[in-house]
Symmetry: C2
Subunit: 326 residues, 2 copies
Amino acid sequence: MSLTNFNSEQEIRVGYIEEVIKKYLPNAEGHQEIIFKAMNYSILAGGKRLRPMLMLETYKLFDGKDITCIEPFMAAIEMIHTYSLVHDDLPAMDNDEFRRGRKTTHVVFGEAFGILAGDALLNYAFETALTATTKMGDKELKNAVKALEILSKKAGVYGMIGGQVIDIIGVKAIDSTDIKQVSGNIDKINVDINDDIDKLALDRLNSIYKLKTSALIEASMMIGAIMAGASETEILVIEQMASNIGLAFQIQDDILDVTSTTEVLGKTVLSDERNEKVTYVTIMGIEHAKNQVNNLSQKGLGGFEQLNRKNDFLNELIIKLITREK
Amino acid sequence: MSLTNFNSEQEIRVGYIEEVIKKYLPNAEGHQEIIFKAMNYSILAGGKRLRPMLMLETYKLFDGKDITCIEPFMAAIEMIHTYSLVHDDLPAMDNDEFRRGRKTTHVVFGEAFGILAGDALLNYAFETALTATTKMGDKELKNAVKALEILSKKAGVYGMIGGQVIDIIGVKAIDSTDIKQVSGNIDKINVDINDDIDKLALDRLNSIYKLKTSALIEASMMIGAIMAGASETEILVIEQMASNIGLAFQIQDDILDVTSTTEVLGKTVLSDERNEKVTYVTIMGIEHAKNQVNNLSQKGLGGFEQLNRKNDFLNELIIKLITREK
């Protein structure tokens, strides 16, 4: 597939995904109208729509035919991704006023509606995914329930939320006096890992990346496979592929923060260094980090051979994600 | 059923529900340990456990036999109720530092973990409810999916979250200049209803109460009925019962704020008046409000006859809820 073809193919798909997302957004009616506006504002901010795209393409990889049963899950995964950004941007979290050149949700609608819009998007993701089950036969229903299990698990404390937690612990020191105020069943929380930064920092960083980024990418690709009727073994291969791809994607982010220009990246470079953030580059240096991206992406792409299946667009999309310069 | 019997029966049930909730809480392991502690802290703060109790008793009303398929939903509904309290207490929302005599979650764990613990509980509610589906036959699976649909809908923008939204609009004025900053698809939001306070205020108040309080009570009782295999018609009767009960419960709250003593209520009386809150009492006076409670509770209890079913404990529980003095 040539790059020009890929780019126009990608554009078509993004357009289609935008339509899917709009189709499944709630109606702006009733007294609670403002929440619909806040939800719409958050999710219609654009973006790569990477997760629904990976889901759809994995669905096609396994010859999925009934697009109407995957669409609600495509909308749902983007709602979950969006809610996590809305809450991440809150003043008590990363305190970001802009995202993709627009004011963040809480800046426009106020902090209370920033919190509620995030809650609403998370809840609505499950409401939306559950609409996929309407009129399903027994076998399809079993698959949909399995997909819902993956969605909830990968988005939760053992997945994405877990990653956000470690991210916050890493970024902000926890005031242990606060913790001590809790009587009874709350033990002292051990967050001091500065003694042996190299090994522990890498361990923690891998945990963050695996949970915060890979988990939703795993969910996206696994749900695509599950809803197309893939076998247990095939789903495991997909999970591993997605895990490697997610990790490579994140390490590439670390590298770009050092090597790219502000112009190409569209955001300030060397921001990690200024924030004294621990990254793959600060831990192992840029060359080792590049090697890691290479290894992980080879492993990830190797999944196609293991499955003896191909989807040229998906293959290209993964390569582009990992080798991207912005 | 005598009051003494009822009270000891209720105590036994609360003890059992506490065990169910603990059984389904996540494990405190891994780097993200603090989120498990925050979730545990929030949900193990005690309380009436009203929603899981109504669910279990409605399940019994319809002769439900397999307790293991209703337990995950009991834990899930309490997680959703708890997350809504954790987020309601946040500084940007009601800014409460104490709940049930304990410091609120964000006071103990910091605001970021207050937000994340709420997110985690909402997400984990679906994770937990989905564990009910393990090893289910086709018919049971269909019921579980129907129950999940009710759970997600009643907790979301058309349910509980919708109620929170109206509550905030009612309590805090929205700065329309904030809204105007949004370009494109966000219209001006009309929140000025002071012109005709009586009719509109009652309409708005009913919307808040129906959504914020009744919705989760409806979900609790409907899920109990669904999982026990109740018919569509029976589920509709239960929904209407729960709707009336929830509304009566809330109006009784308004009355108690005026009539009770601080000692009995355990919180400051006349707090609504001081906060210039619109309540049933401020809109229609105390006598009319009492009549409403009476009418609604009669309607609610009438459901038992309609269904030609009885559960003495449930009957007593509903009467106690509505006629309570604290």
